[in-house]
């Protein structure tokens, strides 16, 4: 079972990459009481038969692990969402892509911890593959709102290959700056 909300995001994001998507859009919207994630790709999509089976931990399309008979990412997510009365939905069309939405009530005592948003975005942006990725992240606390957008293609053009340690370190610094500034809303509220 995953340890944090960000782990679920990583897992669903990787499904999008593995669907041969050319474009992936991720929205992460957080407020006082809830965080929601939307991962939308234009990959190969799923047939109705596959769509009805993705919640089964003993079903996998065999792409990631040819010999394995389990697919745990989505079942883990659904189990965690149901445990805290969050929300989950999946829409998919063959040849069109897939849209996965999930949300967690942050004030539920069993809600998993957030995890590191910076590490998660870093690993998503630098995950191997030729795809465009646009991440929108927002935070609303009381009446204060802030947000940022990260565009993988822009960053790659600026930093070069994400295999380079130097590029990854700069990317990390950049993401940390976005996330720190976003979370300053909380400090402004508490003072």
């Amino acid at each position: 079972m995953h340890a944090s909300l960000c782990d679920f995001l990583s897992d669903i994001f990787q499904n999008a990459v593995e669907s041969n998507a050319g474009s992936i859009r991720v929205n992460i919207e957080e407020n006082d009481t809830q965080i929601s994630f939307l991962i939308e790709d234009n990959g190969k999509g799923m047939s109705e038969e596959v769509r009805t089976r993705v919640t089964d931990p003993f079903y996998t399309d065999g792409v990631k692990h040819a010999k394995r008979k389990v697919g745990l990412g989505i079942p883990f997510l659904i189990q965690a969402v149901e445990a805290v009365e969050g929300a989950f939905s999946l829409e998919s069309e063959v040849g069109q892509g897939t849209k996965v939405f999930f949300s967690f009530p942050l004030n539920h005592i069993d809600c998993p911890p957030m995890g590191s948003m910076v590490s998660t975005l870093l690993s998503m942006i630098s995950f191997p593959g030729a795809y465009d990725l646009l991440v929108y992240r927002s935070l609303t606390v009381a009446d204060k709102h802030d947000s940022y957008e990260v565009n993988r293609a822009e960053l790659e053009e600026l930093l070069g290959s994400f295999e380079s340690v130097g590029a990854l370190q700069l990317l990390r610094t950049y993401l940390q700056s976005q996330e720190t500034a976003l979370n300053e809303i909380r400090n402004r509220i508490s003072h």
């Binding site: 394995r68 690993s123 130097g166 610094t173």
Partner: protein
């Protein structure tokens, strides 16, 4: 703290480029490959990826590439990391955390010395062939 703009990131990149060029690179290119499958993520692989970047930065090691891959077939010892260094055999490390990542950078990458307590190997070919039965 204001959000860094892309222009500020560009300037920082240019500054760092200058620093990198001044460093004495030994000409040995190593690869660190972090297993980032569902099993790796659940076990904390992102923390490990982050730890490698911080350690490499702390030791000013630049001639290493850090990439991600899926499951290496060693789910029971996740997080797993494969390290490829010239002059050494390919090594898969298991049960890697931030402390082990630090040891891998300091011993394996910088001194060509394995971190023996965490060395694991891929499942043998016959096990893979039988699908783990």
């Amino acid at each position: 703290m204001a959000k860094m703009t892309l222009e500020e990131l560009r300037k920082l990149r240019d500054t760092k480029k200058g620093e990198i060029q001044k460093r004495d690179i030994a000409g040995k290119d190593s690869q660190i490959i972090v297993g980032m499958g569902t099993c790796g993520i659940a076990a904390g692989a992102k923390v490990v990826l982050d730890a490698f970047l911080q350690e490499l930065d702390a030791h000013k090691v630049e001639n290493v590439s850090v990439t991600q891959t899926g499951c290496m077939g060693l789910c029971y010892v996740e997080p797993t990391v494969e390290v490829l260094t010239p002059g050494m055999p390919p090594v898969i490390y298991g049960k890697v955390d931030a402390a082990v990542a630090k040891a891998i950078v300091e011993d394996h990458i910088m001194r060509n010395k394995m971190v023996s307590d965490h060395v694991f190997d891929r499942p043998s070919a016959d096990i893979l062939k039988d699908g783990g039965k």
